[in-house]
């Protein structure tokens, strides 16, 4: 079973990765809208 510390670490890593995915998606679209193809 995961310990509380492990759960916290899991959540932290998970949010970092989710943020990275959001950054790639939104960043890509914003780049194209602002700077064109």
């Amino acid at each position: 079973m995961a310990t509380d510390a492990q759960r916290k670490a899991n959540l932290r890593t998970g949010w970092i990765l989710a943020g990275l995915a959001a950054l790639f998606g939104v960043g890509f679209v914003v780049r194209i809208i602002v700077f064109g193809g």
């Binding site: 899991n10 890593t13 989710a18 990275l20 995915a21 959001a22 193809g37």
Partner: protein, 539 residues
């Protein structure tokens, strides 16, 4: 020595440990093995649906002229075959393998986010229903190719919106699955399981998951822009409004080429587990395998425009993408040579998993070589959108990804079900599939070299013979997969066959072989103590 805790019933005081029964077990599943099983069954179902579409395509192409379907429906078949096989069959199947095997291989009790794991799986169902159901929408299913190129996407009916929504959902599922896999591998390994002692399958999935996180949002962005072009008056890709359809191709293939490696890197991991087990030797060049996998992943981001040589890009661009693509042959070659070096002077036996693994190495390499040929801009300009390309990517995705999955099912199936499959049936499945696969796709090289374009429902008489052979081979290949389901998968799922020992393969190494067969519902609930190689539990 087993690290498995006593029977789950012993922990009935704790709801988390009680194994639910009936439909609740599956609908509310948080156990990585149950979710892995659901992923594998779902992907096999989608594989059969995509296979039926393939056979409809091949039936139409059995003879010149239009026999069964009109060209519009034919385009829908090719589009949906591609989308279903890529997003519904191959990708979820490897996630199924990851769910089953990664926690077992690294000594973790489960995936890091068990409930998100459940959501990742159940999102697939509405997406699949939407994709398959689009055939019944006005105008039929999407018919813009699996690449959903603009401006064709502007001309499609409402099914295009359903397709885009389905891809969004599948993408969200993939991203959640990837986050789960990365966090599980980084945070939940048993003490002593250092990264460089991890089984290659876990390594390949770690790298694949990073690829997915990087490129799935890009696809989501591209198809969202397609959606706004269709309905909200934007003109990102619509040339009628000043948009640039070539830009769509650049964005799509920035996702699409890493996607190719997303579909093959986990296959490399499976083969890297099987070859040492049946050669009874350690994997040759473990570290170089890890670095080669990472190199392939990095290079996959700088080669996308080799899919676009005919769009009129400058010669310097062609040269860059040509050389960058050819560079991928180096780490891929490292892998092929390492597998051969592992087999070299090994004490080899050829049970069914090894047959599939050797078949993979041989036939996938053929697909790799045709990939090198297509990487060369002057040749590719001649062969663009011909059956040579169709032959190439089926040698990579069928003889690559699918063969590795079959190898994995035969190799780990006894651990999943507790039942040994029939070797005779496994070998019939392998040899039948190998022969029919080559009858189907080998002639396509000649068709492509002779100039037959892909995605056409009809063709001139000169292509008739090879097309006839390809169709016969396709039906034989399809039949072998029905045989596999009826005579290998179903008996194993029903428990019919010899009981599987804890470690059915003499030369196999890894923590998955430290738990009984079938693997109990809960494993490694307390972190196991590992030996120095991190392949055995010592306490």
């Amino acid at each position: 020595m087993s690290a498995v805790l006593p029977h789950p019933g012993d922990h009935a005081h704790d709801d988390h440990h009680a194994q639910p029964h009936g439909w609740r077990r599956w609908l509310f599943a948080t156990n990585h093995k149950d979710i892995g099983t659901m992923y594998l069954l779902f992907s096999f179902t989608m594989f059969m649906i995509g296979g039926v579409l393939a056979l409809l395509i091949r039936s139409e192409l059995f003879q010149p002229g239009l026999q069964f379907v009109n060209p519009e429906l034919f385009n829908q078949f090719t589009t949906m075959h591609g989308l279903i096989m890529v997003f519904g069959a191959i990708m979820p199947a490897f996630v199924g393998f990851a769910n089953w095997m990664i926690p077992l291989q690294i000594g973790a009790s489960d995936m890091a986010f068990a409930r998100m794991n459940n959501l990742s799986f159940w999102l697939l169902i509405p997406a699949a229903l939407m994709l398959a159901g689009s055939f019944f929408m006005p105008g039929g299913a999407p018919a813009a190719g699996w690449t959903i190129y603009a401006p064709l996407t502007m001309q499609m009916g409402p099914s295009m919106d359903a397709g885009i929504f389905a891809l969004h959902i599948l993408g969200a599922s993939s991203i959640m699955g990837s986050i789960n896999i990365i966090v599980t591998i980084l945070n939940m390994r048993a003490p002593g399981m250092t990264l460089m002692k991890m089984p290659l399958f876990a390594w390949t999935w770690l790298i694949t998951a990073f690829l997915l996180i990087a490129v799935m949002p890009v696809l989501a962005g591209a198809i969202t822009m397609t959606l706004t072009d269709r309905h909200f008056g934007t003109s990102f890709f619509n040339p009628a409004g000043g948009g640039d359809p070539i830009m769509y191709q650049h964005i799509f293939w920035f996702f699409g080429h890493p996607e190719v490696y997303i579909m093959i890197l986990p296959a490399f991991g499976i083969i890297s587990a099987i070859v040492p087990a049946f050669a009874r030797k350690k994997l040759f060049g473990y570290a170089s395998m890890v670095y080669a996998t990472a190199s392939i992943a990095i290079l996959s981001f700088i080669v996308w425009a080799h899919h676009m040589y005919t769009t009129g890009m400058p010669v310097t661009g062609q040269l860059f993408f040509m050389y960058a693509t050819m560079l991928i042959a180096v780490p891929t070659g490292v892998k092929i040579f390492n597998w051969i070096a592992t087999m070299w002077k090994g004490s080899m036996t050829f049970e069914t998993p090894m047959l599939w693994a050797v078949g993979f190495i041989f036939v996938f390499t053929m697909g790799g070589f045709t990939g090198l040929i297509l990487a060369m801009a002057p040749i590719d300009i001649q062969l663009q959108d011909t059956y040579y390309v169709v032959a190439h990517f089926h040698y990579v995705l069928v003889a690559g990804s699918l063969y590795a999955m079959f190898a994995g099912v035969y190799y780990w199936g006894p651990k999943w079900t507790g039942v040994m499959y029939s070797e005779t049936r496994g070998k019939i499945h392998f040899w039948g599939s190998l022969i029919f696969f080559n009858i189907t796709f080998f002639p396509m090289h000649f068709l492509g070299l002779a100039g037959m374009p892909r995605r056409y429902a009809d063709y001139p008489m000169q292509f008739a013979d090879f097309n006839m052979w390809a169709t016969i081979g396709a039906f034989g290949f399809g039949l072998m997969q029905v045989y596999f389901f009826l005579f290998v998968v179903l008996p194993m799922m029903r428990g019919q066959g010899a009981p599987a020992p804890q470690k059915p393969w003499e030369g196999a190494e890894g923590l998955e072989w430290e738990v009984p067969s079938p693997a109990p519902w809960h494993t490694f609930e307390n972190p196991p103590k590992l030996d120095a190689t991190a392949t055995r539990v010592v306490g």
